[in-house]
Amino acid sequence: MPGPTNSGARTPSWTGRLVRSLLLWILPAVVVWLLITPFYNRFLSVAGEQLARLTEFPGVTRLYIQETHQVLVTRSDMSGKQAFVYKFRLTDLHFNLILTVALFLAVPAVEKRRRFENLGWALLVSVCFHILVLFFYVKFVYSTQLGAWSNEHYGAFAQNLWGFGKHLLDLPIKLALPFILWAGFYFQDFQHHVRRT
């Protein structure tokens, strides 16, 4: 019975395979994200508008997509040019989906079904997060970006709440979310393989 042969080739470690797969999955994730962005921006503008109007009596916020990537914030209780309140790049709120998809699909030694199931849950959380960020962005605009109108309608506490909340969600949490979600599902796998490398 032939014994095991040693070809001298090193088996890539789990973390080595993770890093390699992560770099390989980035480009397909970018392509998919670019394709869905126009539709996702429309979905987000509708969802964000509905969430904002839930907190308004009567509901006055309207969000319009312009040139695929921009969102116009308008208020129906203002007339003429004043109704157009603010404009910003909606696409900048959800580019973290690229890293989320790449991280979740790059995990080695995990069956495909489990990887896609976990990715599904991560995407669901990400969508809810994007709607929340958009909601905070709209409130941030109303409370701090409209000069005298903001000061008249929002007190110092509300301005700090919406301003800091938007800042916190739009920067560190948005950027860290792919890693947070990935660690939530795969931290034990990672720790197990790191300790044994």
Binding site: S13, L22, T91, L103, L168, L171, G184
Partner: protein, 190 residues
């Protein structure tokens, strides 16, 4: 006739997911605390702004080596064709905080955590310097691509670099803390 043995009680959610919950809670706490700290005006004015100014000077000096003839004023880099203001989000600080939080929350010795923090500071700032230079050149030669390069492409690259760096650190440099249960399980048996 003896009754069959009772099956062991199912592990609670906390005991099953203790490690990742512990890591994530600590990670979010550290990230939230450090970000709140740098958002505080005295810290922002005395630490972050000067730090960002230093990044602008380093970026401008690098661009001058490439023949761009830039001048720097505070956090602004400009030449006769383009100008860019480096603000929070583009100074690498958030990426560093995310990386630091991941290193500090990971169960490892304090010596290896310190090594990870130092390694991460240098590496992420190098990547960020490349970002600043590349974005300025994009603004000069491909201005229509600046917006998407600024957020989508380079933010993704910087955060991806932080994640890869953390994987490298955890894999190569993170020594087990003496109290880590994994240290006991890895110890050779007598």
């Amino acid at each position: 006739m003896r009754a069959p043995p009772k099956p062991p009680p199912a592990a609670s959610a906390w005991s099953r997911y203790r490690r990742e919950l512990g890591f994530l809670i600590l990670f979010v706490l550290i990230l939230g605390t450090t970000f709140t700290l740098i958002s505080w005006n005295p810290v922002n004015d005395r630490v972050i702004e000067p730090f960002t100014g230093a990044i602008a000077r380093a970026g401008g000096a690098t661009l001058n080596l490439l023949g761009q003839q830039t001048t720097m004023s505070g956090t602004i880099i400009r030449n006769d064709r383009f100008a860019v203001n480096i603000r929070n989000g583009c100074n690498g600080v958030e990426a560093m905080l995310i990386y630091f939080a991941a290193v500090l929350a990971f169960p490892a010795s304090w010596r290896s955590r310190l090594l990870g923090v130092v390694l991460g500071f240098v590496a992420i700032q190098l990547v960020n310097l490349v970002r600043v230079v590349a974005l300025f050149l994009t603004g000069v030669y491909f201005p229509r691509l600046f917006d998407s390069s600024h957020t989508v492409i380079w933010q993704t690259i910087v955060i991806l670099s932080g994640v890869l760096l953390w994987i490298l650190w955890a894999n190569r440099f993170a020594e087990l803390h003496p109290g880590d249960p994994a240290a006991a399980s890895d110890a050779p048996s007598a």
